[in-house]
Amino acid sequence: MKISRKDVEHVALLARLELTEQEIEQYTEQLDSILEYAATLDRLDTENVEPTAHAVPLHNVLRADEVKSSIEREKALQNSPDAEEGFYRVPRIV
């Protein structure tokens, strides 16, 4: 087994996903088989291989420090499930 039920619970917390009992079981099994498959990579010798993060070799893409107009607050808040007095409202933090 590559992954345990406890791993799945921990990962679900990191990813902020509330999983049902059934989902935990199902994901434990499925992630295990996917990771088993991913382990194919272990056969590769990558000792002196640099990782590729970007497919194109660009660098120094920079913009000038010039102010652009912001959007209207109504537009910023229009999609919010809960907005009040120009703020986004959220339930208690702690």
């Binding site: 921990h10 902020r16 996903l17 499925q30 990579l41 919010s80 339930p91």
Partner: protein
């Protein structure tokens, strides 16, 4: 021939000669959509009203005697992961069911400026995660060639709408094959451009280092026309490459004499359906008979593309999808006592099971203790895969491979086994890892279902792909075939 079955190039001539008006054309498409949409279900949202207004503007221009640009007045639709100002953009996810972007994706803006008429937004696998469009939170899209079969995915709506004549062209996005595989399953032309050729600004991210937008069209010429409109450098996308964008229609030459075509043998190995293999061998013979030098080659790291992809893409996705938390936009759970439970419930209720599975996988691959073993290892494998391409593309102008190992499968056939579903991307994923361009075009039929031929090329050499594809198309009739379904409605 029905108006809706015509290509953009043909319709452009009809518009310019005033044989039809843009409003008539748009109305014809709206009628077509209304007539068959309950069977195909390619769309998420229809924008008839604004489409007719756009079309009226084009007619006003025509009545002034102005020339039309190639896509002006041409009805099209966008995959529902491209932001459209004022038009709901859902990613086929419950979590964005009511999201109305306050801005346009660069491609949406470019097509608007080019005068194309947007008919609506197209169904997809939720957040582009899937290979069958069965993962849409709202409904499946059916393959017009056989309504019992999938369209492929994730841009299933984009492929189906084109082959079902619901739009002249559409845009899709391709992270691991999401343009090419559904285009092949539905028998249309689909291009995944070089990473960095088309702006990603406003494309709702799945895996940022792999995602690329491209066109679905009825033929190769239309594809080049749409690329002319959407490709090019965008200062809003840091990964957009400043390059000399050619006029892609200049490459539409019926001539491939002397071009070197490589056949990577790893793509024709196990898992390829024998009927599909037969069709592709025939296509290769055609290319040879047209004067190309066809030769086998080897890309030994191909088998590592799938495992690398299924670590890199979910890892990036797990981070890209973290923003859907119910604070600024989208769905929020009804029931939460504090912020953590709000986040957890919102995401649990808002995302579908495939999306959750990939978020879980990606989070795991990035988490402490596993980063080196999974994510970093996958990035190194990515380097080796890229080097394979670099090496063979020094020798060959174009590589040819299957687009998918099988034809479109039946609903439910693979949806219970995630790994089996993932393997349907085996022929398309390597190109995304290498950031290279690829096109699929109709190459024949297996059991009555379309088979796609995939051409892969050098960075920013979409032109040569168009040349080979155009030559093949000019010398075959596969792209003219229409699903029987189409006649039934007519």
């Amino acid at each position: 021939m029905e108006l809706t079955a015509k290509s953009a190039a043909e319709l452009h001539t009809l518009l310019e000669s005033r044989e039809i008006s843009a409003v008539e054309l748009t109305k014809a498409f709206i009628e077509r959509i209304n007539a068959i949409e309950d069977k195909v279900k390619a769309f998420m949202t229809l924008t008839e009203e604004s489409a007719l207004m756009q079309a009226a503007e084009v007619d006003a221009k025509l009545s002034r005697g102005d020339k039309l640009r190639p896509l002006e007045g041409i009805p099209m639709a966008l995959k529902d992961n491209m932001c459209t100002e004022g038009v709901r953009t859902t990613c086929s996810s419950k979590i964005l069911e009511n999201f109305v972007p306050p801005y346009n994706a660069t491609v949406a803006e470019l097509l608007r400026q080019a005068g194309a008429v947007m008919l609506g937004k197209l169904n997809m696998d939720e957040f582009a995660m899937g290979s069958s469009t069965e993962n849409s939170a709202f409904h499946v899209t059916r393959n017009p060639w056989d309504l019992e079969r999938v369209t492929g995915g994730s841009s299933g709506g984009s492929a189906a709408a084109v082959v079902a004549d619901q739009a002249v062209f559409t845009l899709g996005s391709d992270t691991g094959g999401s343009i090419r595989q559904p285009a092949a399953f539905c028998g249309v032309v689909g291009m995944k451009p070089t990473y960095g050729a088309v702006s990603r600004y406003g494309l709702i991210a799945f895996a940022s280092s792999l995602d690329q937008i491209g066109p679905f069209t009825k033929d190769v010429r239309d594809n080049a026309l749409v690329m002319n409109a959407i490709a090019g450098h965008d200062p809003k996308d840091s990964t957009s490459v400043p390059y000399d964008k050619p006029d892609y229609t200049k490459f539409l030459l019926n001539d491939i004499k002397g071009l070197k075509i490589g056949i990577p043998r790893e793509y024709f190995g196990q898992g390829i359906d024998t009927e599909v293999d037969k069709v592709l061998r025939q296509a290769l013979a055609t290319l040879g008979s047209l004067g190309a030098e066809v030769e086998e080659c080897s890309m030994p790291h191909t088998e590592y593309a799938m495992p690398a992809y299924y670590l890199i893409a979910p890892a990036e996705a797990s981070s890209n999808l973290a923003r859907y938390d119910g604070v600024r936009y989208g769905y929020r759970t009804e029931d939460s006592e504090d912020i953590i439970s709000m986040f957890k419930k919102t995401r649990a209720e808002g995302f579908g099971s495939e999306v959750k599975r990939r978020i879980m996988l990606g989070t795991y691959a990035l988490s402490a203790g596993y980063y080196d073993a999974y994510y970093l290892k996958a990035q190194k494998a990515r380097t080796l895969i890229k080097q394979d391409f670099d090496r063979v593309l020094e020798k060959f102008d174009v590589l040819v491979a299957p687009t998918a190992p099988t034809v479109a499968f039946k609903f439910g056939e693979k949806s219970t086994d995630p790994l089996a579903m993932y393997l349907s991307d085996v022929c398309t994923v390597p190109l995304n890892l290498a950031g290279l361009p690829g096109i699929t075009l109709p190459a024949g039929f297996a059991g009555g279902m379309p088979v796609g031929l995939q051409l892969m090329g050098k960075p920013f050499d979409e032109g040569t792909l168009y040349r080979v594809a155009y030559t093949f198309e000019q010398n075959t009739d596969f792209h003219k075939a229409k699903p029987a379904f189409s006649g039934e409605v007519a």
